[in-house]
């Protein structure tokens, strides 16, 4: 997902306190920043929310790539609004992480030097306008699958951030579907581009949910703590089931010959993505990893004089006010 393969941190707290904490979660109570919490819960959440926030921020890059080249002024305004939302989502999430005792600068530095990850999906390029439609439709669609249940997560600030995010996310998916539908219903060349975007982004989108449950050994503790609400395979299946009719409506070919309705299961069967590709992208070898990290590092470096200048100005103003009093 936007947070993939977040390993639950081990916890060495007083068993009695741990049991009382778990009981609170089981009763559906929200944990707030000042409440007692196991160290493992705190650390795992910092990793998870931080990774989620980084994904929102890095996720602006593949779409920002097409703002100046949008086909119409209206599409440009829409894409700009969407990318602006992503920045906002990143900020909601960073603030939620900061309530756990990590600073914004620490989180940023961990992203920039590779100690923290962002979603594998953003290491794929957006080659043309059809990709922008496909990203909104598939990538935001996959994100919604994960974010909707996270509105009920046990950590209060994370849950409230997710509620805000989900309210805004429907626009993202709809604008993407609307854009790709225009192309699927357009000239044969446009339809071909839509098909090509779907084919290229399908498996990377399925990878967003993380490795298959049989290889995902870290989720049990996170599920008990209600910071992970569903297994990877559950969400992936839900995504496939929801998306297949949307593909059919567009009149596009299914991107995977393995997609078939399974009457017995009541779900679509599908082919698993190539997990060796996924692990390779996570390791830093995707098509755009180097570009993405370089762009974030440059933004941080090039923005330093603005951050420092504004702070110096604020300090000068405060000193003047103080002197006048």
């Amino acid at each position: 997902m936007y947070a993939q393969m977040v390993k639950s941190e081990a916890t060495q707290d007083d068993p009695e306190k741990l049991a009382a904490f778990q009981a609170r979660i089981d009763r559906g109570e929200k944990i707030e920043p000042k409440d007692w919490m196991p160290e493992g819960y705190r650390k795992t959440l910092i990793r998870q929310i931080g990774q989620h926030a980084h994904s929102e921020i890095v996720g602006q890059l593949p779409e920002g790539n097409w703002i100046t080249r949008a086909p119409t002024l209206e599409r440009k305004a829409i894409l700009l609004a969407k990318v602006q939302d992503e920045a906002g989502h990143g900020l909601y999430l960073y603030c939620a992480a900061e309530t756990l005792g990590v600073s914004r600068d620490e989180l940023t530095e961990m992203l920039l030097d590779g100690r923290m990850k962002y979603s594998s999906i953003f290491n794929y390029p957006t080659l043309n306008w059809a990709d922008i439609g496909a990203v909104g439709w598939l990538v935001d669609g996959a994100a919604i699958m994960n974010q909707v249940p996270l509105q009920r997560t046990s950590f209060g600030p994370y849950s409230r951030a997710m509620i805000r995010v989900c309210k805004e996310e429907s626009f993202h998916q709809r604008q993407g579907y609307d854009a790709i539908r225009k192309m699927a219903e357009g000239t044969p060349e446009q339809k071909k581009m839509a098909q090509d975007a779907l084919n290229r982004l399908w498996f990377p989108s399925l990878m967003m949910f993380g490795p298959s449950d049989k290889d995902s050994v870290h989720s049990e503790q996170s599920m008990a703590w209600k910071i992970k609400m569903n297994t990877n395979d559950e969400l992936r299946q839900k995504f496939v089931d929801q998306t297949v009719p949307q593909i059919e409506f567009l009149g596009l070919e299914l991107p995977d010959p393995g997609i078939k309705w399974n009457e017995e299961r009541g779900h679509y069967d599908y082919t698993d993505p190539d997990w060796s590709e996924f692990f390779d992208v996570i390791k830093g070898n995707g098509p755009c990893n180097t570009d993405r990290l370089a762009a974030r590092n440059n933004a941080w470096k090039d923005g330093a004089w603005v951050r420092d200048g504004l702070l110096a100005h604020a300090q000068k103003k405060a000193a003047r006010k103080h002197a006048a009093e």
Partner: protein, 94 residues
């Protein structure tokens, strides 16, 4: 009036999981007393599970007169609302 206690803005979390909401203000000599007073003034009928107090002069607020420049620009950006996009019923909820 020289020794008047400062004004504090009071925020109460009504029930677990919700955000703190502004409920009103009161005077108190310091933060600790402000919380105690807020408990007496604003939570006598179980209205809250958590209290935040902020000294009023630490709150920066937009002025009502800026309503136009602040909020009117978003009126023309109707595409920020999901209903702007026509999604056929056959494709399901989106």
């Amino acid at each position: 009036m020289k020794n008047e206690w400062p004004l504090w803005e009071i925020f109460i979390r009504g029930q677990h999981g919700m955000s703190h909401r502004h409920v009103g203000s009161l005077h108190a000599p310091d933060a600790e007393m402000a919380i105690k007073n807020a408990r007496d003034v604003y939570t006598r009928r179980n209205e809250g599970v958590s209290i935040w107090v902020v000294e009023a002069n630490h709150i920066a607020a937009s002025s009502p007169g800026d309503k136009g420049p602040l909020y009117e620009p978003s009126e023309s950006k109707v595409y920020r609302h999901p209903t702007f996009f026509d999604i056929p019923e056959e494709v399901g909820a989106m």
